[in-house]
């Protein structure tokens, strides 16, 4: 099964929108950047706050350096994510290591990039493959459908 990605040639990025269901909350749609250079998958706090998931109520996990700015990552536990497949239907993936990134709005000179990342950990733990064909202008995540 294929989960289509957007190959953004203007900003040179791979993106995908998925709904994220934090435990006991209503689902929210999140625009993720697919980043195989990132060891962590996380939702930015602006998004998680939409369903009242705040880092101040979560357990700290680790710090990440993003573009020279230190961003704190907090454990959000298991979430249910849903992606659109190639037929336009929803495909569910449970992920038990989601993080929420603290915004750090008050830091002087720090650019809060308001970004949510689908990292390489997500691909490894869910046994997914990533396909990019820049000639045909297509990109997708491939799963055997059992995730």
């Amino acid at each position: 099964m294929q989960l289509p990605l957007v190959l953004d040639k203007e900003k040179i990025r791979l993106t995908v929108v998925a709904s994220v269901n934090f435990s006991g909350r209503v689902p929210i749609p999140v625009s993720f950047i697919v980043d195989t250079g990132s060891p962590s998958t996380f939702v930015d706090e602006f998004n998680s706050a939409k369903v009242r998931v705040f880092t101040k109520n979560l357990t700290f996990d680790h710090d990440s350096l993003m573009g020279g700015t230190k961003v704190a990552m907090y454990k959000a536990g298991e979430v249910v994510m849903k992606f659109k497949n190639e037929a336009g239907d929803l495909f569910e993936i449970k992920y038990n290591d989601m993080k929420v990134a603290n915004t750090g709005w008050t830091r002087r000179e720090a650019i809060y990039s308001s970004v949510s990342i689908l990292g390489l950990d997500f691909f490894l733990k869910n046994k997914l493959s990533l396909h990019i064909d820049t000639v045909k202008d297509i990109a997708y995540i491939e799963t055997d459908g059992s995730a």
Binding site: W105, I111, S114
Partner: protein, 79 residues
Amino acid sequence: MINELQLITSMEKNDTFARKRYTELQKRYANEYVAIDNGRVIAHNKSMKALSDILSSKGVELTTVLVQFIPKRGVEILF
């Protein structure tokens, strides 16, 4: 009941707007945060905190709002 497919489609629409109008957004909102919903910019500010406050004061339903930082032309963001 929440239609997750609809939520995803709405956010995709905002994503598409941000992607296709990126050059225009850079001209108008360089070094600002923009909030996009229903395929249009609904608020913008140089401060993310201020933008968040503006959205709250307007009573905007945030579920499908996309917020992005728009760097000035010639600057790229690495993660």
